[in-house]
Amino acid sequence: MSRILTIAHAEWRLWLRSRLAFGALLITALLLTSTSVVTALRMSEAHHARIHQQAVAEATFLSQPDRHPHRMVHYGHYVFRVPPPLSVIDPGVDSVTGQSMFLEGHRQNTAMFADARASAELGGFEDLTTALAYQLFLPLLLIAIGHGLIIREREETTLVPLLAQGVTGTELYAGKGIALVGLSLALLLPLAVMCAVAVGRGAAPLASAGVIGLYALYLLVWCSLILLVSSVARSRSLALGILALVWLGTALIIPRIGVESASSLIPVPGKIETDLNMQAELRAVGDGHNASAPEFRQLQADLLAQYDVTRVEDLPVNFRGVVARAAEADLTEVMNRHAEERMALEAGQARFAASFGWLSPVLAVAAGSRALSGTDLATHHRFLREAEVVRFDFVQGLNRVHVEQLAYGDDINRNIDAEASKRTRMSAENWNVLDEFTFRPAAATERLARASTPAAMLFAWLLMLAAIGALAARRVQP
């Protein structure tokens, strides 16, 4: 066995024989396993519940009786964001942004993404998830076990006899490093099992492998840092103090600074403010319920000219339906523009906060983990866009029924008596304009691309620490 492996093996033996180290390892292994199981059960339940709710919502919409098509526009529909398989590891912004959305005519219910401020990009601390356990608690265990790796040899005066056997500082550094990295990789086992479970439930193997790779890289960063501090610190207590401070800074302080800076530098207007700004533009579009509103005179004139008639009653289409359809299209354009502006601001906030990953590996791994798991803000925005497509399509589908199947005369006289009202009820078969909605996160390659910047941050950390470590290793002296 080479010297490096001999040193690593001796360190593992020490940990196994140390009650403190063994106890800490056991507790962490239990924490990781229990957290993984609980997160998996929670997200699995949410997955099934939302699929069921989606099916119920669609069945409820389709089972509505014959009605005036515009009543169905206002009856509305629900869409649910089904958590992706890898959310068993990292639920990401799921709990912060909400997962369902009510779709109806003339409005985008933006309440869910109104809450999705950049702070949501931290993933929420209220639940201990597998991702959080790996991001926050595993480094603490590595610090507790590894802070004395090299300084202990100096303090207990075993460094001199070690080096006197011909062991070089670099060999000692590498051996201790392999011991710590080996432990970290062993602790990745619960994560690997979770990824395998996720793949069994339909997760992309590429994204799952990416999650394991990302966390392995993250733990390598911590191992390198711990090893470096342990080799340069003057005492074990100092090494522990430095590492505890680094953990505090990278896990709690820098992320908070990142979020606060993002919020203040890239302010996102609140829901009420956004709606007030939008209302003025929406008023200019006109009320689609009122076909005689001045905003639709030009539309009326164009339509009369197109069909070469002088009265809307003579048109072959229902003018009220045409107005509803045109108004919906114009309203949607305004609402989409505002929604895109808002999402751009939110994405900008998230990007700015994530850029603090250059200062904090915890932030970097958190951003990469959410991207790969398909639970990041970008995925939520994708859900909002897809939901809007569903909303617009079903509303316009109903408007088309209104235009083509409901006679204008019946429509304007629908309140005269019960019989007139009955004539405006369209067959329930028309409600199948509703498309089946199944939300899926972006393809694995796209998620990998989104995780590439956080991965690059971690890689930069690793390179920097390894380079400094290589210099420190040569200077290991009694």
Binding site: T6, V160, P161, A164, P478
Partner: protein, 238 residues
């Protein structure tokens, strides 16, 4: 060619001169003792031969080669017993020996380990016990066994008899002579004038980093003149 050679060694630690122009050399099979009070520079001399300290002037040579040119080769040629027998408390005697010897790339089997532990008279029943339960003397014996097992041409022993009982010290002194007769060169550091006079071929008296005297074993005698060494030691201590 001297096996160990200190040529006008001057060494500084934390900006203070701890060795000043120290010169001596050792031939194969010789036993030399460095004698002196605390802070005399005895351990510093050993650490300089091991390459842990770099002289500001002069040079240390191991087997004819300057240590600064190839520290690794110097350490491969030397078995070093530190002042406090620093071995791992969570390991037993066998595990400690195997660990350090494997790092030194010295192959040993259980019989060789037992033979070395027999030579230092470590009780058989203690060998499987973790060393955190050992007395200082027992730890010292394991450390001495390790130095023997290294089978290097040179042994540097820092206070090897510290913690040993008188009988064990006598055994140790005999062991050192045996090793020297087998061709191994031993440089030991001690406060023990009497022991040094009995075991060493030459004693170097160090005082505040300077070599203030050397005493040879007269030919045909079994020891160096203890009274002369004691007198010189006392004169400098005063």
């Amino acid at each position: 060619m001297p096996v160990l050679n200190a040529k006008a060694l001057t060494v500084e630690r934390s900006g203070q001169q701890v060795l000043k122009d120290v010169s001596f050399s050792m031939q194969q099979g010789q036993v030399h003792a460095l004698l002196g009070g605390n802070g005399a520079g005895k351990s510093t001399t050993l650490l300089t031969f091991l390459g842990f300290l770099t002289p500001v002037s002069g040079s240390a040579h191991v087997q004819g080669r300057a240590v600064s040119e190839n520290v690794s080769a110097a350490r491969q040629a030397i078995a070093y017993l530190p002042e406090a027998a620093t071995l791992y408390g969570h390991l037993n005697a066998y595990e400690n020996l195997r660990y350090f010897l494997s790092l030194a790339k010295t192959d040993t089997d259980r019989r060789a380990l037992d033979a070395a532990l027999d030579r230092v008279a470590l009780q058989a029943e203690a060998r499987e016990m973790r060393m955190q339960t050992y007395s200082k003397g027992m730890r010292q014996k394991v450390a001495i066994a390790m130095a023997i097992l290294r089978e290097t041409p040179i042994l540097l022993l820092d206070e090897p008899t510290a913690g040993l009982d008188p009988a064990a010290i006598d055994d140790f002194n005999r062991l050192v002579r045996d090793l020297a007769e087998a061709g191994r060169t031993v440089l030991l550091v001690t406060h023990d004038v009497y022991g040094a006079c009995h075991v060493a071929d030459r004693i170097h008296l160090l005082h505040k980093g300077e070599l203030v005297g050397s005493f040879d074993r007269p030919s045909g005698m079994d020891r160096i003149d203890t009274e002369a060494v004691h007198a010189a030691f006392a004169a400098h201590a005063a």
